[in-house]
Amino acid sequence: MDVPSSGSLPDDVFHDRCDAIIRSVSTVIDGKTEAVRLALTVLLAEGHLLIEDVPGVGKTMLARALARTVDCTVSRVQFTPDLLPADITGVSVYNQNTREFEFKKGPVFANILIGDEINRASPKTQSALLECMAESSVTVDGTTYELETPFIVVATQNPIEMEGTYPLPEAQRDRFMARISMGYPDAAAELEMLRSRELSSPLDALTPVVSVDQLRELIATVRRVFVSTAVEEYAVAIAQATRRDPEVRLGASPRATLHLVRAAKARAAIDGRDFVLPDDIDALAVTVLAHRMIPARHSAQASTVLTGHSIADVIERIVAETPVPVTAAAS
């Protein structure tokens, strides 16, 4: 790569820091490098991450490990059905000494907020959090408080078929940049996990590898990644195709397109490039788009179960059908 433009980190510095984060997180999440890379991608793109999977595969472990490798303020909220919005945003309490109301900041005032099992909270509470996510500010009693930067929510949830959950409304799922799932570890990784967890939690051994300032530098570098018109048009073409597709009831929103390109920038940077390739878009399309889209009724769950035809398959088909810009440029 050539010399990066001003404001960006030198290529090798950027690469070293990313490497350090990935290596550090990977020590606690065995054999899930791809999930870790995706998580880092979302982190660097300043997006919110939704980790969705069955219980016990390490969703929370990933979220905590990610938060721990960065030396920043981290808060964690265990979502339950009786959790109230004020438990997230904070409350005004009467200080008897000063005889004034005083704002007690909630857990949302942190760089990284880990929301465990977000779909167990009532929709009202979910909304409170998700509004913070969209606006990066909290208004309590007529006063607006700015959240810290970066502000990143890493939420975990169980699949909606599980009991005792409130599925996130689609409008709110849209606020998450990406949804990843962990998947079960393979036999070797599971065995390794058994041995390493015997004595202590591996999280305890984890030390921060980047400071919050360094994280801001990384994010600034990602923002400067170049996106060519061709790639932008490619992303837009994919998003528009999802809206036209007969198998899709709700297609990707414009915010989804924005998130897709931002995530692609981060992926390009992690890959050591300062420009985005169509490959970045291809690789992230399912991760970024799938959780926001709803399959059409006639091809919905029933046939999904029968044919294995999920919304991810639809997205992959759309991506395969959308003309790749370089080919068009060559004709």
Partner: protein, 745 residues
């Protein structure tokens, strides 16, 4: 999915397959049927079309049935070919075959004879030609070949875009035969049918792929006539009647030029001697059917800057030396008209050589079109005494000038004996023959021979001519030459022009002679030792007898009395011919105006053109590659990548068209055997992989980064080379001769 559903799905698929096969076969038949409209240009009437389309439909239908039953497509095409052969056998040679359809060796002999018949029929007919049995057989044979080719291309090769080639062959036929493309409508309809094929064939080929094919077809149709030195119509507006060609054996079609409604200006000339007969060809072989030039190779050493001396002309014979300026107008062909006896030609252009016996001028490749040349010639003026004193012994090699076909009716020799047998010398015998034809018993008519069916110059018609006593120059010339031969006088028939009409330019006072189709003529030349070949004019009321010969006609002692003067006044010919002849009363034009000794059969030209047509995909591909590599030199990196992917596809490597460069890179790397993933390939030791990675990096940078990255042309060519070397030889041959991406967009 239950078994019922599965079987239903299967039968649905089979149904779709059947529909596809039949609709594609139907479109192929439609396209071939429409493309045959091009033959309407060169053939009269349209009855030949029905056997043609019948054969096409039979072949394609049988092949389609076979395709629906048998999965292997090549078997279907083979079955179609076999049934096509059986159909030909049934209609053209049923008696030679087992059960009428299974061909035997005799069948193929019969086919060979039919092909020869068709060829000679095409050579001997003027276009548009009548589709006789031979020509219809050639058409049906072509129908089988083209149908099988179309079927194989569409079903075996699965490249419907290439069906353009057989269609092109069909469309190109008139261009080869007639040097022009009249039938733009037929061409357009065929192009539409072709687009239909592409639409029916669907998926992989797009209709846009048709445009390179259509474009090359148009170029072909326009270029071929320029490249081929074949017949050329004089006036396109009058279609077939508008040309004066010297392409084919003249004696066969001369009558058509004679019966032309309006005369065409063939050439103009000026000579200080005045008017002259102009010779085009000397016909010395007399067969059952016709007079024709004997087959002699043209000798390139006989360049026209110096001719051989005239045969048999001794130094004692008086002569005058003259110069003639000739300008060709509407005459086309590989023969140049010259007076007798030419000694040299200047300014005629390259390729013209003289023929040693006839002293005519021919070429194997040049065309008389627009020729403007100067001929130096001598005019022998033998005295009566010299002619009468000519010895009777003939030089060696003159036996052929005495040969008569066995089918010659006896009446010819009997009449000759009766008319001239009593004369003392050979020359007197010749004069007696000439006088026999010109003494008033014979009449000139271009219509009588046609009406009574003895048109032509062959041996068999001479008897009828002698009894009917009516005919035109070919009959007179042929009869006199044959009778002379029967009297042991060497004789040949010459085709050429009578002197033409004298014209004076009122402004410049320039004199020239205008020679038109009405001046087409044939006459006998007789040979007298020590004097050489002497022209006679048996055709009554036409032309002029030679001065030395005239004298004997009426008064042998006054050789200079010009007998030609009474002739024009006595022109029964003028009245015998259609009134459209403006001013040339010499209607006795020889029936077959042009000797076509070097004319190549159009079918052979077609055969030669097939490799060219087949080479079109390779040429298109090569040109594209060249253009792309040049564009690479100018910095268009995307085209470099496209070229690499197309070359790989040509070699049979599966490279997705709609994939990112990096994904295509993975596929290419797999083909090249590079153990690599993604861009890390740059670190690979192999030069091919580093070149490929370099090109990939440049492509990605140029397309998606703010800093366009050049690529070295050498890197691209080295990738192309390593791709080729990684493929098997079969794939390489296929990629060169039949590149899959030739017509892709």
């Amino acid at each position: 999915m239950t078994t019922t559903e599965a079987s239903r799905a299967r039968s649905l698929r089979a149904h779709e397959r059947r529909v596809r096969i039949w609709s594609l076969s139907g479109t192929l038949a439609l396209a071939l049927g429409v493309a045959a409209s091009s033959l309407g240009e060169v053939l009269t009437e349209g009855a030949w079309w029905f056997p043609y389309i019948g054969v096409v439909i039979v072949v394609l239908a049988v092949a389609a049935v076979a395709h629906t039953l048998i999965a292997r497509a090549w078997i279907g095409s083979l079955v179609g070919a076999a049934v096509g052969l059986a159909t030909l056998t049934l209609f053209f040679a049923p008696t030679t075959a087992i059960v009428g359809i299974i061909p035997t060796l005799d069948t193929f002999d019969r086919f060979g004879a039919l092909i020869a018949q068709g060829q000679s029929s095409m050579e001997s007919q003027r276009f548009p030609a009548d589709a006789d049995t031979g020509i219809v057989f050639l058409i049906c044979l072509g129908a089988v070949g083209l149908s099988v080719a179309m079927d194989a291309i569409a079903f075996v090769l699965r490249r419907p875009a290439l069906t353009a080639l057989p269609l092109l062959i069909m469309l190109a036929v008139p261009a080869f035969v007639r040097s022009e493309l009249h039938d733009a409508f037929g061409f357009a309809v065929t192009a539409l049918a072709y687009v239909g094929i592409l639409l029916v064939a669907g998926e992989r080929t797009t209709v846009r792929a048709a445009w390179p094919v259509v474009a090359s077809a148009l170029v072909l149709a326009l270029i071929v006539p320029v490249l081929l030195p074949s017949v050329d119509p004089g006036e396109s507006s009058t279609s077939a009647t508008g040309l004066i060609s010297t392409g084919v054996n003249p004696i066969l079609n001369l009558s058509n030029d004679l019966r032309r409604d309006s005369a065409l200006l063939a050439l103009t000339y000026f000579s200080d001697e005045g008017d002259e007969y102009l010779r085009v060809a000397a016909l010395d072989e007399f067969s059952d059917e016709t007079w024709s030039p004997s087959e002699r190779e043209l000798d390139d050493a006989n360049t026209v800057d110096e001719f051989a001396p005239a045969q048999g002309l001794s130094d004692e014979v008086p002569r005058t030396e003259n110069v003639m300026q000739i300008q060709i107008q509407r005459l086309r062909g590989k023969l140049l008209p010259v007076p007798y006896a030419a000694t040299s030609i200047t300014d005629a252009g390259r390729g013209w050589v003289w023929e040693p016996e006839g002293l005519t001028v021919a070429s194997s490749f040049a065309n008389s079109k627009d020729a403007n040349y100067e001929v130096s010639y001598i005019t022998p003026a033998p005295t009566i005494e010299q002619l009468e004193a000519a010895p009777t012994e003939l030089p060696a090699g003159f036996e052929k000038y005495l040969a008569l076909p066995e089918s010659l009716p006896a009446v010819v020799a009997e009449t000759a004996q009766q008319v001239a047998g009593a004369e003392a010398t050979r020359f007197d015998q010749a004069l007696a023959l000439q006088k026999f034809f010109r003494n008033g018993d014979f009449t000139y008519s271009e219509e009588a021979p046609v009406a009574e069916d003895y048109d032509g110059s062959g041996a068999e018609v001479l008897g009828e001519f002698l009894s009917a006593q009516s005919g035109y120059c070919v009959h007179f010339a042929s009869a006199m030459a044959a009778m002379a031969r029967s009297l042991d006088i060497p004789a040949r028939v010459v085709v050429g022009f009578t002197p033409g009409q004298r014209q004076v330019n009122s402004e410049t006072d320039e004199v020239r002679y205008a020679v038109t189709t009405d001046n087409l003529h044939s006459w006998p030349e007789l040979y007298f030792p020590t004097v050489g070949w002497v022209r006679f004019e048996p055709t009554t009321s036409v032309g002029s007898t030679p001065r030395f010969a005239q004298s004997v006609n009426d008064d042998p002692s006054t050789p200079d009395v010009d007998e030609s003067k009474p002739e024009p006044t006595a022109t029964p010919t003028a009245s015998a011919t259609p009134g459209a002849r403006p001013d040339a009363p010499r209607d006795d034009i020889p029936d077959n105006s042009t000797p076509g000794e070097t004319q190549i059969s159009p079918w052979w030209l077609l055969l030669l053109a097939i490799p060219f047509l087949l080479a079109i995909p390779a040429l298109v591909r090569a040109v594209r590659r060249g253009l792309r590599l040049r564009a690479v030199g100018r910095g268009n990196v995307a085209l470099a990548w496209r070229e690499i992917c197309d070359s790989a596809a040509d070699l049979g490597v599966a490279v997705s068209r709609n994939a990112t460069p990096r994904q295509q890179y993975e596929q290419l790397a797999a083909q090249l055997g590079l153990v690599t993933s993604g861009a890390d390939a740059a670190s690979s030791s192999s030069s091919a992989s580093s070149a490929l990675a370099a090109v990939l990096a440049a492509v990605e940078a140029s397309a998606f980064s703010p800093r366009p990255h050049p690529v070295r042309r050498e890197a691209v060519t080295s990738v192309l080379a390593s791709l080729r070397s990684s493929a098997g030889w079969k794939a390489r041959v296929a990629a060169t001769l039949a590149p899959r991406t030739a017509f892709d967009r």
